[in-house]
Amino acid sequence: MLTVSGLACSRGERRLFANVGFALGSGEWLHVQGANGAGKTSLMRLLVGLSPADAGEIRWRGEPTPSVDFRREMIYLGHHAAVKEDLTPLENLRLSAALDGVALDERTALAALIRLGLRGREDLPVRVLSAGQKRRVLLARLLTRPAILWVLDEAFNALDVGAVKLLGDLIAEHLAAGGMAVLTSHQPLPVPGGKALVL
């Protein structure tokens, strides 16, 4: 479904990586590894279409990205919290769904927040939550926005033991349901299987 070939990227004059290629099918996931500054985040940004590649191509269902299909079936969570501090977790979920043009009923949104352990905090402004809880609000989007490909950049950072286990479970369930994931991390991830890509 996702095929990447000959991808190259440079920052300024420095070449980060060249000739990166991989393919992901249903139920598979890719673990992107590499030292600090190796270009993991740059690869993620190329992959989702935020920045253009120097060379190479990325295809989703055989079509070059970023296609409309790709945008609809992919979700990217990066370093940023990407949540609005002045809004409540529930409002955040609703608004991102509305911007994405995705229908979201109250029940699904609440269920997602509860699954992420945010019971009782649905109506507090995100501003008063802890860093880990903010991450959890962001991760709740994985459950409210139906996507096939999950692209998660350092998603396990700032999470406590429970949340790491929870996210591992979410990813495993997603894969079991036929989804795909591309993850970056320094540490070993609590998700079984997976291809490895070392930059």
């Binding site: 990217y76 990407a82 002045d86 608004l95 994405d100 043009g101």
Partner: protein, 221 residues
């Protein structure tokens, strides 16, 4: 279209949670226009003559106040990235943000202008023309300003740079906006001024979201 409305709603909701930001621009407009009579003297004939220019320049500067924040907040917390990757076209979301900016920073000025115009001894029909000209002109300011805001996103000294980029482009709006009221006071027909403002608005509505989107994609790279 739904995505556009959703963006408008979102930005207004966010602004309402932080009322101070909107109120600052409006308060600035009020205080700047009130300062001029204090600096120039209370002579009604002179005040009446300079009123259109002052109200328009003040409106220009107040819309400029809200511009740096137009995309900066979303850029900082990563929501702008999410918008760029959203299944909805980025151009629509950007258009929504521009509409929201006008509703928050432009419309209040249009509504306040007649009241402030009273300070300058403008009569009812002149106030009407002033309001109409601002109604056509302020969306134009938001549209052009959005391009500047996107170009200076995340750039050193962005605020000052934004003013340098955007103010020269505001000149036609200023000329025809203030010109309409002046022409009316001088007893001339204002149809030409207003239709030119409308034409520029149409042109900007067509091109500005496109240019803004392109600039945002460059800023996100």
């Amino acid at each position: 279209m739904k995505a556009l409305l959703a963006t408008v709603r979102r930005d207004i909701l966010l602004a309402l949670r932080r009322k101070s930001e909107v109120l600052t621009a409006v308060f600035f407009f009020v205080i700047v226009t009130s300062l001029f009579p204090l600096g120039i003297g209370p002579e009604p004939v002179l005040l009446k003559k300079i009123a259109p220019g002052i109200l328009w320049v003040a409106a220009l500067l107040s819309t400029l106040l809200g511009l740096p924040r137009l995309f900066a907040a979303d850029h900082l917390d990563g929501t702008l990235e999410q918008m760029a990757l959203s299944p909805s076209p980025l151009g629509l979301l950007v258009a929504g943000k521009i509409v929201a900016h006008w509703l928050l920073c432009g419309l209040p000025l249009v509504l306040l202008a007649p009241v402030l115009g009273l300070q300058f001894d403008l009569d009812a029909s002149a106030l009407g023309i002033l309001t109409l000209a601002l109604l056509l002109g302020t969306p134009l300011l938001s549209l052009i300003g959005a391009i500047g805001a996107a170009l200076t996103l995340g750039v050193r000294g962005g605020g000052v740079l934004l003013a340098l980029l955007v103010l020269p482009l505001y000149i036609p709006a200023l000329i025809f906006g203030a010109g309409a009221v002046e022409a009316h006071i001088a007893g001339l027909d204002v149809g030409g001024h207003l239709s030119l403002l409308a034409a520029m608005l149409a042109l900007a509505a067509f091109f500005a979201p496109w240019a803004t989107t392109a600039a945002l994609r460059v800023a996100l790279e």
